[in-house]
Amino acid sequence: SAQTTANNPLQISGTVTSAADGQKIIGASVSLVAAKGVGAMTDPEGKFVIKIPAANQANVELLVSFMGFEKKQVKVNPGQTLVNVQLEVSSKALGELVVTALGIKKEKKALAYAVTEVRGSDFTQAREINIADGLTGKVAGVNASSTAGGPGSSSRVIIRGNGSLNGDNQPLYVVNGMPIDNTTQSSVASGNGAIGLNSDRGDGIAGINPDDIESLTVLKGGPAAALYGARASNGVILITTKKGVKQKGIGVDYNSTFTVETPAIIPDWQYEYGSGQNGQKPLSQADAINAGRLSWGAKMDGSNVIQFDGVSRPYEAQKRNIKNFYNTGTTFTNTVAVSGGNDMATYRVSLSDMNNHGLVPNQHLNKKIGAVSLAVNPAKNLSIEAYAQYNIEKAQNRSGVSDAPGNVNWGTYMLGNSIDIRSLDPGYDADGKEINWNPSGFASNPFFVINKFRNNDDRKRFIGNLSVKYNLLPNLFVRGRVNHDYINLNYTGIVPTGTAYAPKGFYQQYSTASTETNGELTVNYQGKLTRDLGITAMAGGNQRKSISDAVNLNGTDFFAPGFYDPSNVVSLSTTNVNLRQATNSLFGSVDLSFKDMLYLTVTGRNDWFSTLAPKNNNIFYPSVGASFLLSEAVKMPDFINFAKVRTSWAQVGGATPQPYGLYQSYTILSGGGHLGQPLQTPTQIPSQSGIGGSGLLQAPNPDLKPLLSTTLEAGIEARFLNNRLSADITFYSRKTTNDIMQAAISPASGYNYALLNVGEMSNKGIEVLLTGNPVKKKDFSWDVSYNMAYNKNEVLSLAEGISGLQLDVSVNSYAYIYAEKGKPYSTIKGFKVKKDAAGNTIYDKATGYEVKSELTDLGTGVSPFSAGITNNFRYKQFNLSFLIDGKFGGHVYSATNLYATRFGLSKITLPGREDGLTVNGVDTDGKPFSRTFTYGKDLQGYYDNYKNLSEKFVYDASFIKLRQVVLTYNLPVKAFAFTKLQAMSVSLVARNLLILYKNAPNIDPESTFSNSNAQGFEMFGVPRTRSYGVNLMVKL
């Protein structure tokens, strides 16, 4: 029969799919082993048709290959015309490409530094409102934490430790190769003085829709990010957006997630003694108000006792106050995307809507994002890619955090334990005045705040980038790119008429328009110098310009009560803040490869900064790295499938100062002056609130230069046991020198801060990624991925004579956060109980209270050790994955526990209430001392004094959490072949489901409320939530 077919071309067809997930592979090459030049490519359906010339029709053997997969040779049986091929994911990663700096795709094996890629789909099922929060526990060396600022608040992402004393320590975020703006809108204050609108209005990364992300690549250190120069010192997170694919018709993706959120922790207060003072129940309404936040009363006995509003109610434990005040939050996210394309062009268009009703009543967040991605090849040598997105975001009544004024969480947590919080509702009287439930007007009535305060912002954002690539020669192309990130934020904050601490109210209105624009031009060459020596070279330049124009209105006192408009404000000041800065850069890189075995990379970049004086406004950043594939060079034992060692060294910069910091300038005070005389003041640090600035001065310094961050890293990667086990281990040492430090200086120097080029800080660490595939069967598989990182941070030096840099102060100066020489960054400092040499507690003779020590270290606010483990089980159509992560070795100063102690809510205040509390020790003269505090007299004062003993409220912040659980059922779409359904899944999803381990009582140790550099304070943030819900994904 062979003879009879000899004259007819044999036609073999089939489909190429991925063995891992059954996805069709488009563009795979199918060729005939026996004859060069005979081959085909798979179409958008993964199908191929290959015609076998007559001469080769005997013993047909096909070679199927596609980048990132193992090549496969398939023998075709005589007479067989249908061949379906499954390709295994490449074990040697020979073809695996990863996105690197400037968006350049490189072979992973060639990389001389650690890079971690996370798929966009890892963020789209169990969602966080801010995608950066979703990084927690997923990437070794990335310390991502969300803040307790409520939905839509900022994240804090730190890669390989804090590198700069005062500069931004968060990574640069890059979309499709070009930077975006990640400015935090309004950092919240830790200390006193906020007027009651102390909320976090979110950061830039939160504006990216996870559904639009194809992959997210973390360039952890200087070597990986060196091409970004001055902005690379904290690492870079590269986001590659989804693009359209060539296909027949239109592909439709729909992703919908609905989750509910509830407070993760209900504090474990004492419920034996009710609201009152010195062991007494309140006897009058005045007593009741005085005791509104004091649970120092009698034993609760159910008797009728007068409360703050003059109504008598049973004296009973109110254990459900937290649940009764907070709502069950809901978040409903829907994204629909259509995509398609042909040889000429591909497109993808997506629309997304995220709607959150927070657990704080009346808090609401809506985010709508539309995105368009386009790739066009109008001519053979020309390709154009464009991406644009537009956001419309509305936030209503973001919750205040930290100090009490206007912070709903403060009163809700500190209310006397025998008062039902619902009796505070609605929080105002017939005249609209706040109803006091406690003696301090500053401790707001939570219902008054949710019903009367306003804290709203509207944000519009455009991110666009355009890339044009022209191939001059097959191996030489030029590429020009521009991007533009525009954010317009309009904020209105109202402290209303009738507020107890501000009866005539406050008004704030800020409008900020900021842009970040980059233009880049590069020339790229790829070729071979000899048969074994390959070269890739790139040279280019970048211009960056950043502009922020803000108009801030601040008003005090409304004329007509209840009408909130600037026209109705008695005292109004208007301030313009216009910030302009630019950086120009030239850069280049050369990559050499030898026999696909040894790779060498050298890069260099020179940056010029507008914010520095001309004499030292530029700096050169070099990097060099090498990667060596042991498994290519030497014959390895069978159980080792792949082995690579790599090392690299780089210098990058960063933390250039804000504009206009070099010379003293003078500002006229807004508002018309006094008695016809204008008023001028040395220019203060810009502030959104306050007349004429923040009230804080920074000593100008014309001699500033950029800081330098030098990183040396080395790593090994290996795969074992038929690629069932792999390991990637990195060691790094990163040292920051010439850090620009905004040192708090003695105000007697005339200034609050000085900018100094002196700080040195070291981060050394190890990152480990282990992945395994313990079970791999047709119906059942188990994948596990473990990542771990340890970072040792040390402040090496500060300015001469300065041993400590104060980063933050808590309310009432109870505790501080410092950077101190020889200690880890963000060290919590405060006061201990003073002991004598023999270890006896020293008491004050007059008061009988413990004497406090000098200011002393109480632990670091940054956890040095973090780890995460993801397990993924697949059984037939079901998939279960869960992430457990933890952080260890950090500390937190808990003001919630402090106040709960002062107010008698904490269980540590129980001893002594029955029979008195006797303390023994020595007095300040060293003589034996003993005193008994009795409940009816002075026990309350004794416990209240704990506020001076900060150590009592500093806790180990270590935790282990069941961070994420996703249980998915993939519908067997083949059974519904009549539909156009390509894939569909339904998942039960959960985030922050359980805290498996922690040491800090009554709080979530992750409850720091600010994303600023000073980490380690917890104080009345929006409760951390656990969320759970359903996710639906449909692909048509």
Binding site: Q680, S749, Y751, T847
Partner: protein, 494 residues
């Protein structure tokens, strides 16, 4: 590659060069018990409660720290943390920019004003940065603390030099000078009055570092303020900006005696002290109804009979809270009321003391009478509600002459009890003068958990932050001066 960068780095919202006139006006407002809580925390809650002008029922841990003698870093260090950066730096900028000979009058006014503020700082804390202060632009970030003796010596020298340097042929601040509209003669009187204030603070000092008598007599000979028309008074208006308001009225009315509180819902539970009201009441002092009201069924009532102060050391807001006297909304709490910086009441009373000490040739009884008369008259600056009929003033001073037959202490008691009453609202100065003289004799409270063992504090602790950011100089100061406590006595108070 940096074309246009220098231009880009010029702040479009600010001027590159200072305007000394505008800076001076601002420094007068800012230096003067600023409206950013400076008056409230420092003067009212602490100084004013220590010397029992006021009483605050709030807890000892919070706003009651002054009433009940506790350390409160946030409140007590506020002046230190605030005044250098907000006022002294500005004065330093003027001094740098006004070195040309034709600016001598501006320079002199600035130097005098700086002495007034520096004295306030050192009087609160003791040794403080002075010679090294406000040199942050010259990289002095951790200024050393000077001894108070050295600061006093230099302040007197500064006053002497500044006053002598005035030159009638040179320009002045003119209308930018809110105190005297550029009147050099009046600035000299103000300077000499301040010299008298500074000098007299050192009467207890025995180390011989300051020849108190010589300086006091020099000041008097130079010509101090004796007429009301020469008083150093800052005028304010009822808005529209916060800085247009009298800071005392603004702070008291926004932080404690808030609108609608009507004597009941005072934010920090503040009232006039029983000590103060009793003093006025016992002597049938016509100022009583000027300064104090009791909210009677929601109406501010000035009648003398119902005035009563709240005892210091009170820790509850009981049903009787509303019955206690508090600042009069028609005078003290008026946003447009004037602020008296240094008046003929103070100078006359100090000169009375000088005469009592046998220094110079003054008539102590007449000076006493002048001082008390001035103190009563000056309330007229607060408008109709403050005006006391001349007949009433005469009656009062006739009824309460200086008992010149009494011993020295008794006469000091009389003079400085009147000083204490006259300087109501200038709590800084009243507290310093009380510490120096011990009059009037006050009965301290001894509240549970107080930090002084039941004695009235003698100073404010330094800012706790200094321990971290200026440790060596801080430690040197306390090793010299004594522990950083409320009870440690400063140099002129030993």
């Amino acid at each position: 590659c940096d074309k246009g960068f220098e231009k880009m780095n010029i702040n479009p919202n600010a001027a590159e060069k200072p305007n000394v006139d505008l800076l001076f006006t601002q420094s007068l407002l800012k230096g003067n018990l600023p409206y950013d809580r400076g008056y409230f925390y420092t003067s009212y809650l602490n100084c004013g409660n220590f010397i029992q002008h006021f009483a605050t029922a709030k807890e000892i841990a919070g706003a009651g720290c002054g009433d009940k003698y506790a350390v409160n870093d946030f409140y007590q260090s506020f002046y230190f943390r605030y005044i250098y950066t907000n006022a002294i730096t500005t004065l330093g900028e003027i001094i740098n920019a006004a070195q040309a000979p034709e600016n001598v009058n501006k320079l002199s006014a600035t130097r005098i004003w700086k002495v007034l503020l520096m004295q306030r700082i050192t009087d609160l804390y003791g040794d403080v940065p002075y010679s090294d202060a406000i040199k942050g632009r010259s990289n002095v970030f951790q200024p050393k603390y000077d001894t108070q003796a050295d600061i006093y010596a230099d302040m007197l020298k500064e006053l002497d030099e500044a006053i002598k340097a005035f030159d009638n042929s040179k320009p002045t601040f003119g209308s930018a000078d809110l105190l005297y509209n550029g009147n050099i003669a009046q600035w000299k009187k103000f300077g000499y009055s301040l010299m008298l204030r500074v000098a007299m603070r050192t009467t207890k000092v025995t180390d011989g570092k300051i020849p108190t008598k010589d300086w006091a007599l020099k000041a008097i000979a130079g010509g101090v303020i004796t007429e009301g028309t020469d008083n150093a008074v800052l005028r304010y208006t009822n808005g529209p900006q916060t800085y247009n308001n009298n800071p005392i009225a603004f702070e008291l009315a926004s932080q404690d005696y808030v609108t609608g509180a009507k004597g009941k819902n005072n934010t920090e539970w503040g009232k006039f002290s029983k000590t103060f009201i009793d003093f006025l009441k016992t002597q049938h002092d016509p100022r009583l109804g000027v300064v104090a009201v009791v909210w009677n069924n929601g109406v501010a009532d000035t009648s003398a009979a119902i005035q009563q102060g709240m005892p210091n050391g009170t820790d509850k807001k009981g049903a009787d809270f509303v019955t206690f006297s508090e600042p009069n909304p028609a005078t003290i709490l008026q946003y447009g009321s004037p602020l008296l910086l240094l008046t003929n009441a103070e100078t006359n009373l100090l000169m009375s003391e000088v005469a009592l000490r046998g220094w110079g040739s003054g008539d102590k009884a007449q000076l006493f009478r002048n001082g008390v008369t001035a103190a009563l008259r000056n309330w007229a600056l607060f408008g109709p509600a403050g005006t006391i009929a001349p007949a009433k003033i005469d009656q009062f001073v006739n009824d309460h002459p200086l008992t010149t037959t009494g011993n020295f202490d008794a006469q000091m008691n009389q003079i400085h009890s009147q000083f204490w009453a006259a300087l109501l609202l200038d709590e800084h100065e009243a507290y310093a003068n009380w510490r120096r003289t011990g009059y009037p004799q006050l009965t301290p409270v001894n509240y549970i958990g107080n930090a002084t063992g039941g004695i009235i504090p003698r100073r404010f602790p330094y800012s706790q932050a200094e321990q971290g950011i200026n440790a060596a100089n801080y430690n040197a100061a306390i090793s010299r001066q004594g522990p950083d406590l409320l009870t440690t006595r400063i140099w002129w108070d030993k």
